[in-house]
């Protein structure tokens, strides 16, 4: 006989699949399957939920752009571009904005008002709606602009011109019937320029007005809405062709406050999902260890029966492929159901039916989770199994399990890859894995080990229950240590989620306090300032401070043209900015670099710049800036950089000067204040004496921000609940995986005559030791990780959590003791021979 004749035929799938079915039926794959399903369910469910909710929240916020993205240009763009956008499946609208005078029709020109004219195309607005009123009833919401021949105008214009609904106004060469009062315009923007003086007409009426002539300063805004990918593709294609002075506006540019809240909500959801990934990985690691433990003899038998290494590998790989497919599909189904269940629970707060559908990504990430878990956590187990020698059928040892436990460290890069794939965030991954886990794991292992050693000394002093319990922990020291570390990580992750949730919700709650200003007063003449302030005080209205506004353009930075330096990438260098001055630093302005107000250097006055703009313009302390204000030029240098709170509804300025510098320029003043429904009429009466002052209510904006924050908070709560449930399941899975050995030993003790009290007592001691140690380590790790996440990722202030050090160890001890005792209770109610027979047959 030749050797080739006895070489095994290559591995065939059917046997692997038959083995999968047999092992499944025999109950050997349940735990591994459950952990994979848990991972896929958690990741897919959270991703589906987060993606749909995020889309909904962004959709809600897109109201402030009237679109998903906006292109702002100084000249109309080529029709080809718009056609291309439509071919990509995007909706397109156009608005044209410029200041112009409006007059009552037929008047002699005595009465006039400077208006911010806006001509809108028929598809405007693409997102959100407009509020209009006929002056008698409640405002109604419409999703279109005015028809041809009519105008919708701001109430301030009507007041200034002393007109009403149905009257006519002249705009350029055309005349329009005032059909409605414009009460709400989502995409008005956060600039106060033109605030409260809107006249909106149809795009088709614009040419007839004759107002646009060559050289006119007109702002064209092209609005685009559609899928994220289509938008990205279109703007990737468009941006290289954009003319100088163009600007692409996203939600971030337009409403930094809302965008910030959304970013944090998104970050929290991603973090929650990432923790879900980690929890699933922990469960898979434990299940793989148990699988390895229970299959060592099986592999030795297979080899004895003539299976070669490739054949064994083929059998295992085939089974795992099948298991992966089954677990992934089951996880998809459960994840989708879970998402539906949570959305159902939120139905009172979120219009579930109107939520945009999720894409394929949650399913891709779900499948990747189970695959990576298998490859990085289960595959190392297989290498150890493949190395099991056939002579093990004659004499057993346990080196394989120990070697596998050690190789779990190999899972770190795999888990890191998974986290990165999920979060797309190097920093989050790094903080969780490197800064969080790796930094905690090593001290945790050392600390746990020293506790184990200390436990030996303690047990010498204690009674038999304690001595036996601690002896159990020490005898299984590697498994005990592994369990302590795994439980510590699990509790740590859950504690981090709870801590972050608390901080985030508190911050959001404080974002817009109930007494935040809800109306802006602008265009206050300098000679009206003190009188108006006095009258407001008389009616008990507290302003957020009165500030002057001088309109100027930033033209040069360190001697170079600002537009040449930055092009369209920074819109602020193309438009007029509101410059202001103040004796004291306004509330919520915090100097992060330099000194306020600073001193003049060689007659060059100081200025303070907002830190976001400084970052966008790459500006540093000492940089020289040239502003053009009307025909005048003002050179200044940066003396300080400030952070602002954009959500507080108080006047904020990119550039703030000390007094004396801007006082010679013509300025108007502005303020914001909080008025309740009763004070509204009183305020209107006061403002009647100041016809040039425009009142601009922001109740709608505040209401929308609050809605977004409420929904984001609810999402955070729901996700937290989901992760907590998953964490508990993982804990129970890990605990269950190590119960067989304890049951076997307890049965042996029963055989030797040990009573119920001794057995349950020693088990309780063992679980107390593990639970308490894990809890202390978890509290330590949670405090560290929360600090890192809050200060480095969420940009929040860190506050220590003393209660954490009490609650986490207590909860972890109680949970592990109660669950462990329940799992082991069988040892004292079933005849010991039954358990011994079962465990002998399993081994």
């Amino acid at each position: 006989m030749t050797l080739s004749a006895i070489t095994p035929s290559s591995w065939k799938m059917p046997l692997a699949w038959r083995m999968l079915v047999r092992e499944w039926r025999g109950g050997e794959l349940g735990l591994l399957f459950a952990s994979l399903v848990l991972g896929v369910t958690l990741v897919t469910g959270i991703s589906l939920f987060a993606e749909r909710l995020q889309k909904a929240l962004v959709g809600e916020a897109s109201v402030y752009l009237g679109a998903d993205r906006v292109l702002q240009v100084n000249d109309p763009v080529a029709q080809d571009w718009l056609n291309h956008a439509q071919q990509q499946g995007l909706s397109v609208a156009r608005t044209t904005l410029f200041p112009t005078m409006v007059y009552p029709s037929g008047s002699d020109g005595e009465r006039s008002a400077l208006s911010a004219l806006k001509a809108v195309s028929t598809s405007y607005p693409l997102r959100g709606d407009l509020g209009i009123s006929d002056g008698t009833g409640q405002p109604e919401a419409v999703r279109h602009g005015p028809a041809s021949g009519v105008a919708w105008v701001d109430n301030n214009i009507l007041t200034q011109l002393d007109l009403g609904i149905g009257d006519r106004i002249d705009v350029g060469n055309s005349s329009f019937v005032v059909e409605r009062v414009l009460t709400r315009e989502g995409d008005a923007g956060s600039s106060f320029y033109g605030m409260g003086t809107r006249v909106m007409i149809s795009d088709s009426d614009l040419p007839a007005t004759g107002l646009i002539i060559p050289g006119s300063r007109v702002e064209y805004r092209y609005l685009f809405a559609g899928g994220e990918t289509a938008l990205d593709n279109f703007f990737d294609w468009l941006e290289p062709q954009l003319p100088k002075g163009s600007r692409v506006i996203t939600l971030h540019d337009n409403q930094p406050g809302i965008a910030g809240a959304l970013d944090k909500a998104g970050l929290f959801l991603r973090l929650a999902g990432s923790l879900g990934v980690l929890l699933a990985a922990l469960a898979a690691a434990f299940a793989a260890q148990r699988y390895c433990e229970r299959h060592t003899d099986t592999i030795a038998v297979l080899k004895t029966l003539g299976a070669g290494r490739p054949q064994v590998l083929g059998l295992l790989a085939g089974q795992m492929t099948g298991l992966w497919l089954l677990a992934t599909l089951t996880g998809f189904l459960l994840g989708a159901l879970l998402q539906q269940a949570f959305l159902g629970a939120m139905a009172d707060w979120v219009p579930v039916a109107a939520l945009p559908p999720a894409g394929a990504y949650p399913f891709v990430i779900g499948a990747a989770t189970s695959l990576l878990c298998l490859l990085t956590l289960v595959l190392p187990a297989f290498w150890h199994l493949l190395a099991v020698p056939p002579w093990r059928v004659l004499r057993s040892d346990s080196t394989g399990v120990l070697a596998y436990s050690r190789s779990l460290w190999l899972a770190l890069p795999g888990t890191g890859a998974l986290l990165l794939l999920y979060s797309h965030d190097w920093k989050l991954t790094g903080l969780l894995l490197g800064g969080g886990l790796a930094l905690v794991l090593l001290p945790a292992a050392l600390f746990g080990w020293s506790l184990l050693i200390g436990g030996r000394a303690l047990s010498m002093q204690a009674g038999s229950v304690w001595r036996l319990g601690i002896a159990n922990v020490l005898r299984r020291r590697w498994l005990s240590l592994l369990q302590i570390v795994v439980f510590a990580i699990c509790f740590m992750l859950l504690a981090v989620m709870v801590l972050l949730r608390g901080s985030l919700l508190n911050e959001w709650k404080l974002q817009i306090p109930p007494d935040a200003p809800n109306v802006f007063l602008i265009n206050i003449a300098p000679d009206e300032v003190s009188k108006l302030q006095g009258e407001l005080q008389n009616i008990h209205l507290q302003t957020a401070g009165l500030y002057p506004m001088v309109r100027g353009r930033l033209t040069e930075i360190n001697g170079q043209q600002a537009t040449e330096l930055f092009g369209e990438s920074v819109g602020e260098v193309y438009r007029e900015l509101n410059l202001s001055w103040s004796i004291t630093l306004p509330p919520d302005n915090v100097i992060v670099q330099g000194d306020w107000p600073g001193v003049s250097r060689a007659n060059v006055p100081p200025v303070s710049i907002e830190q976001g703009l400084a970052k966008r313009l790459h500006l540093q302390l000492g940089d020289k800036l040239l502003f053009t204000i009307g025909d005048a030029r003002l050179t200044t240098y940066i003396a300080s950089i400030r952070s602002l709170n954009w959500d507080k509804m108080t006047p904020n300025f990119y550039f703030l000067f000390p007094p004396d510098t801007l006082e010679t320029y013509s300025a108007t003043w502005m303020t914001s204040l909080h008025r309740n429904a009763q004070q509204e009429a009183v305020l209107s009466r006061v403002l009647r004496h100041y016809p040039s002052v425009s009142a601009y209510p922001v109740d709608d904006l505040i209401a929308r921000i609050q809605t977004i924050v409420e929904r984001a908070s609810l999402a955070v709560e729901v996700i937290l609940l989901l992760v907590l449930i998953a964490g508990l399941l993982v804990l129970l899975t890990c605990l269950r995986a190590s119960i067989d050995e304890r049951l076997h030993e307890s049965a042996l003790l029963r055989t030797l005559g040990a009573g119920k009290q001794l057995i349950l007592g020693s088990l309780a001691v063992e679980f107390i030791f593990i639970g308490l140690t894990a809890g202390i380590l978890a509290a330590c790790g949670a405090e560290l990780t929360a600090w890192a996440l809050q200060t480095h990722l969420f940009k929040m202030d860190f506050v220590a959590h003393p209660l954490l050090w009490i609650f986490v160890p207590t909860i972890s001890t109680l949970m592990i003791v109660s669950a462990g005792t329940v799992f082991c209770y069988r040892a004292v109610i079933v005849p010991p021979i039954t358990i011994l027979r079962e465990s002998n047959r399993q081994n």
Partner: protein, 236 residues
């Protein structure tokens, strides 16, 4: 007592100067020294000796489960020391059967599936044929009614019957049995031994049996005594 017919058969198993040494903290420990013997096809050979005498170690080497430190083993004309692990596994699949003291049935497989497994691993027969053969052998060992039972639901004797059916279903040329009655009561052990020898006789396989039971050893045609890693032969 070797029958003349058996003596005329070619040797199926030969050990030449076989030795096994392991490293211990105290230094090198010799488990087996200079073992030499031959087994002819069709013989039944008992290896007896006290616990720790090296019986199971020798069995592991003879079956190609472990590597000797010195010497060589010829199994069915092939030198085991010249074969790699894959080739040895393939040789076991085609030529060798095993019965173990602790049965070594796969807990997640039914009795039928446990018996089918070595046949399936060969990939030489159809699934239906494997199943048919496994059924026949289980019927032969008296477990026709227990085909779908898992090992945990079978008694020790029944589990060993399944193991015997598994060993013979592959029609091995040589069968290694390691203390096959070690975990059984005497009545069950007698039944199992009867079954083992009956099937061995019917199949014509060579039987290498490790035991410390002199009565069981007496049923074999030859008896090899292990003592402190050395072998002496007693012809029965």
């Amino acid at each position: 007592m070797n029958s003349p017919l058996v003596q005329e058969n070619p040797p199926i198993l030969q050990a030449h100067n076989l030795g096994k040494t392991v490293s211990t903290p105290a230094g090198e420990l010799a488990l087996l020294h200079d073992i030499n013997f031959s087994v002819h096809a069709g013989e039944s050979v008992a290896i007896v000796g006290a616990s720790g005498s090296g019986k199971s170690t020798l069995l592991g080497l003879l079956a190609g489960l472990d590597m000797p430190s010195s010497g060589d083993i010829m199994l069915d004309g092939l030198s085991l020391t010249a074969l790699d692990e894959e080739q040895k596994a393939a040789l076991r699949a085609r030529k060798v059967g095993f019965v173990f003291q602790n049965f070594q049935l796969l807990p997640s497989l039914t009795a039928l599936e446990n018996v089918m497994l070595p046949l399936e691993l060969r990939h030489t027969e159809t699934h239906a044929h494997c199943e048919q053969r496994a059924r026949e052998f289980l019927q032969h060992v008296g477990l026709a009614e227990r085909l779908d039972h898992y090992p945990r639901t079978l008694s020790g004797g029944e589990q060993q019957r399944v193991a015997i059916a598994r060993a013979f279903a592959g029609l091995p040329a040589i069968l290694f049995a390691d203390e096959p009655t070690g975990n059984l009561d005497s009545q069950t052990a007698n039944n199992i031994v009867d079954l083992l020898f009956t099937l061995n006789r019917e199949s014509g396989a060579t039987l290498i049996l490790v035991t410390h039971d002199e009565k069981l050893a007496a049923r074999c045609t030859r008896c090899l005594h292990m003592d402190a890693g050395q072998l002496t032969e007693t012809t029965l």
